[in-house]
């Protein structure tokens, strides 16, 4: 569990290095990572390309190529993500009936639980657990919002990552 979140934090740090909001995410089945991604909003000019959406896309493509019924496949998915999924991603994950979400720090701006509890609108809900390595996830976010200042050192992030 912690290892998966560590991987998410690495992905988030990669996003930060690319000047994206640092959020990283892995999707797992039976403890194995089956998709991993990071926020790519700036790279794509598409504000919906959050880490979770990118992972969902990867899995759908995998299912399509291998003739797997994605509806069954997603039922066993556990999502690890450095920041609580936003309202959009929480709704998407509910639509797909995934099993569980484990996040790092809460999302005070857009959180699908913190700002608006999306689970109220769906009959079946995933299990939601938070605060796994929350400080690390929050540090990256702070670094990003500080980094909107163009003079912020970029290399520091990569060093921190190894800690």
């Amino acid at each position: 569990m912690v290892d998966h979140m560590r991987r998410c934090l690495e992905l988030a740090a990669e996003a930060l290095a690319l000047k994206e909001v640092p959020v990283g995410c892995v999707f797992t089945v039976n403890g194995q990572i089956i998709a991993e991604s990071k926020n790519s909003v700036n790279a794509t000019h598409n504000p919906t390309r959050h880490a979770e959406i990118n992972c969902i896309d990867q899995i759908l493509e995998y299912c399509r190529l291998n003739n797997i019924d994605y509806k069954l496949y997603f039922k066993n998915v556990i999502v690890y993500v450095t920041v609580e999924p936003c309202i959009m991603c929480a709704a998407a994950l509910n639509n797909l009936n995934i099993r569980e979400v484990v996040y790092g720090c809460p999302n005070d701006r857009f959180g699908g639980n913190t700002v608006l509890d999306v689970s109220n609108f769906y009959e079946q809900n995933y299990i939601l657990n938070g605060n796994l390595l929350a400080d690390e996830a929050m540090m990256l976010l702070k670094e990003f919002y500080k980094g909107i200042n163009p003079n912020a050192p970029e290399s520091k992030v990569k060093k921190d990552k190894k800690v």
Partner: protein, 346 residues
């Protein structure tokens, strides 16, 4: 999400609803374009609800000449605080305080309270009574008018709200544009899914999106439902990605059929194009209007918030809708972007 089940018409019992539902799709599209009705905004519930009420004490004044003195003393000793939307005085009645203001444990009456705390006015009243008045300020003229029977109210109409909530929120030419762009969503669905009647629309869950740059009255992009192939590819999500493509981004390789685009241009006399690449190149969907056949789901609604769309229009409610049916994302104050939402095309 269920796959689309195209059911046959269950029975042919004749009533007005089935007659309307059997309206051919082309007639329906014509009626959307030519309707005299304007789209109506969807605001927060607080704009439509009857105002919550509270009980207050009223003192009936003996001598009208005392009123101005009483007004000053009461504003000093018994200020209305959160009830500044209530006038203090109506004819010979003066508003004293909410009933809940008195300590219910001591069972003190308003008369006793005044005798004990404001003795200088204790003889000014003929009698005291309770009244029911609105707890919160009226936000609309309608709420104001409805509550005048309770008590006199201070009301400063918000002219923007009054106009936007009226039957005619838009200029005629603008309203016609909204209807034409909405009609496009029906034409797209008709083309892709072999829709023949209003009934077919109601029996399916297909939707389509049209994104418009109102500053140049031009269609930026179109999108059609692909959710049954790909559960993220709802029209709004596809439209947002298509807009990204006009800004040298985008991810999904799926687009509207070129023949259809040409047909739509002919039939509806629309133009395609964006300001991308010009000095006024838009950021994401900033300034754009998004027309959807159906109310977007919560995922799409939040996607449109992320995309910073300016106005959203839709025709049909959806059970899991995020702008009217399940929740109204446009009313969540803490979100960093808010858009206006309109419906009422059918």
């Amino acid at each position: 999400m269920e796959p689309p089940v195209k059911r046959n018409r269950i029975d042919d019992s004749i009533n007005s609803i089935t007659i309307k539902n059997q309206t051919g799709i082309d007639n329906l599209i014509d009626s959307i374009i030519n309707s005299k009705n304007q789209p109506q905004i969807i605001l927060g519930d607080e704009y439509y609800q009857t105002l919550p009420l509270i009980k207050v004490f009223i003192g009936h004044v003996k001598q009208p000449k005392d009123i101005s003195k009483l007004f000053e003393i009461l504003n000093d000793k018994l200020p209305l605080k959160h009830l500044l939307h209530l006038k203090r005085v109506r004819k010979k009645d003066i508003l004293l305080s909410p009933v809940s203001f008195l300590n219910s444990d001591t069972q003190e009456s308003i008369q006793e309270y005044i005798e004990r705390n404001i003795p200088e006015i204790k003889d000014c009243f003929e009698y005291f009574r309770e009244a029911t008045v609105p707890l919160t300020p009226p936000l609309t003229r309608k709420q104001y008018m409805e509550n005048l029977r309770h008590w006199s109210l201070n009301f400063h109409p918000n002219h923007y709200i009054e106009t936007i909530m009226s039957d005619q929120p838009f200029k005629q030419s603008e309203a016609r544009n909204h209807r034409i762009y909405m009609a496009l969503t029906f034409e797209i669905v008709k083309w892709y899914f072999n829709i023949k009647s209003y009934e077919d629309i109601l029996q399916s869950d297909f939707s389509a999106a049209v994104v418009v740059d109102p500053t140049i009255n031009s269609v930026v992009t179109l999108a059609v439902d692909n959710r049954h192939e790909h559960p993220l590819q709802h029209p709004a999500m596809l439209a947002i990605d298509n807009v990204a493509k006009t800004q040298e981004g985008g991810v999904w390789k799926i687009d509207i059929d070129d023949t259809l685009k040409e047909d739509l241009k002919e039939k509806f006399k629309i133009q395609y194009g964006t300001r991308s690449g010009t000095a006024e190149s838009p950021y994401l969907c900033t300034g754009y209007y998004v027309y959807l056949l159906r109310e977007p789901c919560i995922m799409c609604s939040m996607g449109l918030v992320h995309a910073r769309a300016k106005k959203i229009f839709f025709s049909l409610d959806t059970p899991l809708g995020g702008l009217k049916s399940k929740t109204k994302l446009q009313c969540i104050e803490s979100l960093n972007h808010r858009f206006e939402v309109f419906t009422g095309f059918l």
